[in-house]
C-alpha cells in the first residue's frame, strides 16, 4: 500500500517539473522585450537594466530556469504589472472564491451525476434511461458561458419578484461585508508576512466557510444564493460526464457473473445494485471526477467572467487582456499544479476504495 502511494508521488515529480518547464518556456516565448513585457511599456532603460540584472535575465537560460524554480518554491511569483503588488498576495485574495465555487460545483456534479448514471444503467433502455442520457448528452454539449448567461436571464430577470429569484452577479449583496473570522474572534494573526497570516487570510476569504465559522447566517445565505447560478452552470458538463461514465461502468459490472450469483441467491435488487455493483463500478467514475477538475478550472475562467466573481479565473482572463504576464504565468502554474495534485489525491484514494490495490 505504501509502496503504491510512494510510487504515485514519485511519478508526479517529473510532471510537476514539466509544468514548471512549460510555464517557464511560455513566458520566455512572449515576443518582444521581456523587461517591457513585465514592467510595462513605460519602463526606462535604466530601470530595465536593473530589472534584467535582478531577475538574472542576463544569465544563461539554465541559470534562469534555476532562478525561476527557486522563486516559485519560495512562493515568489513577482509583481503584477497592473496592480504593482506581489502576485502571491493577489492569489491569496482570489483563489478562495474559485476553490469554493469549484468544490460546490464538483459536489453538485457528483451528487447528481452518479444517481443519474445508476438509474440509467439499472433501467437501461427504458424511458428513464433515454431521458437521463439525452439530458447528459445535451449537458456535455453546452457552452458553459452560454448556460450561465441564460440562467442569469431566467433567474435574475424573468423570475424577478418571485421567491425563485437569484442574483446574477457578485459575491455578496452590496452593503453586506464578510468580516474575517480572526477579527471576529480577536485572534492575532501575527506578522502580515508570516505563513499563519496567509492561511488565516485564505480561510477568511472563503466567504461560505468564514460565515460558517463566525456563525453569520445572513451572510452565509447571501453567499450561497450568489453561488447557486455559477455553480449550476459550472457543474453541468462534469455532471453529464460523470453520469455517462457511471452508466457505462455500471452496465459493465452488472453484466458480470457475481451479480447474477447475488441475484440468484435471492438478494434484493437494490442491495445488489448499491452494494455489489456500485462499489466495483466506482473506480473509473472516481478517476473521471478527478479529471473533471480540469473542466471546472477552465470553466471557472468563463463562469467567473460572466457572473462578475473576483476569482482566479476572471483574474486570469483580465490579466491576459491586460498582458499582465506575471499573473498569467503564476495562475497557470498554480492551476496546473492544483490539477495534478487533485489527480494524485484521486490516485491515492484508490487504496481506500479498492482494497485489491492494497495487496499489490
Amino acid at each position: 500500500m505504501f509502496q503504491y502511494i510512494i510510487r504515485r508521488l514519485l511519478l508526479a515529480i517529473p510532471v510537476l517539473f514539466g509544468i514548471l518547464l512549460v510555464t517557464f518556456i511560455l513566458a520566455r516565448l512572449i515576443p518582444g522585450d521581456p523587461c517591457k513585457a513585465i514592467l510595462g511599456e513605460k519602463a526606462t532603460q535604466a530601470v530595465c537594466d536593473r530589472f534584467i540584472r535582478e531577475r538574472g535575465l542576463d544569465q544563461p537560460i539554465y541559470v534562469q530556469l534555476g532562478i525561476y524554480i527557486r522563486d516559485v518554491a519560495r512562493g515568489d511569483f513577482g509583481n503584477s504589472i497592473r496592480y504593482s503588488r506581489p502576485v502571491s498576495i493577489i492569489l491569496i485574495e482570489r483563489l478562495p472564491l474559485t476553490v469554493e465555487l469549484g468544490v460546490i460545483a464538483t459536489l453538485l456534479a457528483t451528487l447528481i451525476g452518479i444517481p443519474m448514471g445508476i438509474l440509467s444503467a439499472v433501467y437501461s433502455n427504458s424511458f428513464v434511461d433515454v431521458i437521463t442520457m439525452v439530458t447528459a448528452n445535451i449537458g456535455v454539449s453546452m457552452p458553459v458561458y452560454w448556460l450561465g448567461l441564460m440562467l442569469a436571464y431566467v433567474f435574475a430577470l424573468l423570475l424577478k419578484d418571485t421567491p425563485l429569484w437569484l442574483p446574477p452577479s457578485g459575491r455578496l449583496t452590496a452593503g453586506l461585508v464578510s468580516t474575517p473570522f480572526y477579527q471576529v474572534y480577536n485572534l492575532t494573526a501575527g506578522d502580515p508576512e508570516s505563513f499563519r497570516f496567509h492561511v488565516y487570510e485564505f480561510i477568511g476569504n472563503m466567504v461560505v466557510i468564514n460565515s460558517l465559522i463566525t456563525g453569520n447566517w445572513k451572510i452565509l445565505w447571501d453567499a450561497i444564493q450568489h453561488l447557486i447560478l455559477p455553480s449550476v452552470a459550472l457543474c453541468t458538463i462534469p455532471m453529464s460526464i460523470i453520469a455517462r461514465m457511471t452508466r457505462s461502468s455500471m452496465l459493465e459490472v452488472l453484466g458480470l457473473d457475481y451479480i447474477r450469483t447475488a441475484r440468484a441467491k435471492g438478494m434484493p435488487k437494490s442491495k445488489v445494485v448499491l452494494k455489489h455493483a456500485f462499489r466495483n463500478a466506482m473506480l473509473p467514475v472516481f478517476t473521471i471526477i478527478g479529471l473533471q477538475l480540469g473542466t471546472i478550472f477552465a470553466g471557472a475562467v468563463l463562469t467567473e467572467t460572466i457572473f462578475g466573481l473576483a476569482g482566479v479565473g476572471r483574474m486570469l482572463f483580465e490579466a491576459i487582456t491586460a498582458r499582465d504576464y506575471p499573473i498569467v504565468q503564476a495562475f497557470t502554474l498554480v492551476i496546473a499544479m492544483g490539477y495534478v495534485g487533485m489527480n494524485l489525491l484521486v490516485d491515492i484514494s484508490y487504496v481506500f476504495i479498492d482494497p485489491r490495490i492494497k495487496l499489490r
Binding site: 444503467a121 452560454w146 448567461l149 435574475a156 452488472l254 453484466g255 497557470t332
Partner: protein
Amino acid sequence: MSNTPEPPSQIPSQEVPLHSMEALNNSFQDYRANSLWRLMLRRILRQRSAIIGGIILGILILVAVFAPLIAPYDPEEVLIGVEPVRKRQAPCIYLLGCPTDQPQHWMGIDGNVRDQFSRVIYGTRVSLFIGFSTIGFAIILGTVLGAVSGYAGGWLDNVIMRLMDVLMAFPSLLLAIAIVNVLGRGLQNSLLAIAIVNVPIYARVMRASVLSIKEQDFVEASRALGASPIWILFVRILPNALSPLIVQGTLGIAGAILEAAALSFLGLGAQPPTPEWGSMLGSERNQVFTAPHLVFYPGVAIMITVLAFNLLGDGLRDALDPRLSFHKAEQTL
C-alpha cells in the same frame, strides 16, 4: 435496441443444400459481401445515437455549403440605411405575427445592425472548419508521435510520452489560453493552440494501438520478409489502429469546437466581424438582459453542432469497440 440476439447473418444459411454447386456459390457471395467495412457500417447503423448525430451533422454540412443560398443577407453587411431596423432589434417573424410591412429577421438584429440569422448560418462554416482543421492537425501530429513512440520504444518513447503527460497536466482550455497569449490573438493562432492541446490524446491512442498490434503475427511476418519499419507502420499497423482514432477524433471535434468558441468568447480567437458563434456571444454578453436573442441563438447553434459530433462519436465507439457488450447487463438484472 432489441434484446433478441442478432441472427448470425454472415454464416451461410443452414437451409442451403450444400450439394448444389450453385447454392454454394451464392452462399459464398453472401459471405464475400460482408467485408470488414460493410460489417462496420452495419454495426454503426444499428446505433441510434450515431444515426441521429450523423443526420444532424449532414444537415449542418449542407447549411455550411449552401450558406449563401440560405442566409438572406451578407453576414457582415451593416443594414443602416438599407432597411428601417434598429440596433439589437428583437426577431421579426411573419409567421409569429410580425407585421409584414417590416423586413423579416428570424433572429433579430445584432449590436452592429447586422442580420443575426445570416451570421448564425455563416457561423456553421467557421465552426465546422475549426473542428475539422484543428482535430485533423492534432490527429496527424499525434499519430506520428504516438506511432514513433510505440514502435521505437526505449528513451524516445519515454521522452515523447512524458512530454505528452505534461501537456495533459494542464486543463486544455487554460493551456490553449496560455499558448494564444504567446502567439497573439486571432482565429489562426487559437486554432493552432487548440490543435497542440489535443495532440497528446491522439498520441496516446495511437501508441496504445501500435503496442498491441506490433506484437501480432502478421506484423512479425512482414518484418521477417524484410519490410522497412516505416512501411510496416503505415501499411500494416496504421489501418488497424484507425477505429479508436476515428472515435476519439469525432469526440475531439466536439471538444475543439467548444474550446474554440470559448476562446473567441473571451476575445482571444476569431475577431469581429468574422461570424463566429463564440465571438458573437462574447460581444453581446452584456446585453443578455436587454437583447437575449443575440446570446440565445449562437449558443444553441454551438450546442447543436457539438451535440451532433458527441452523438456520432458515442455511437461510433459503441459500434467499433468490441469490449463494450452492454446487452449482457440487461439479461442479468
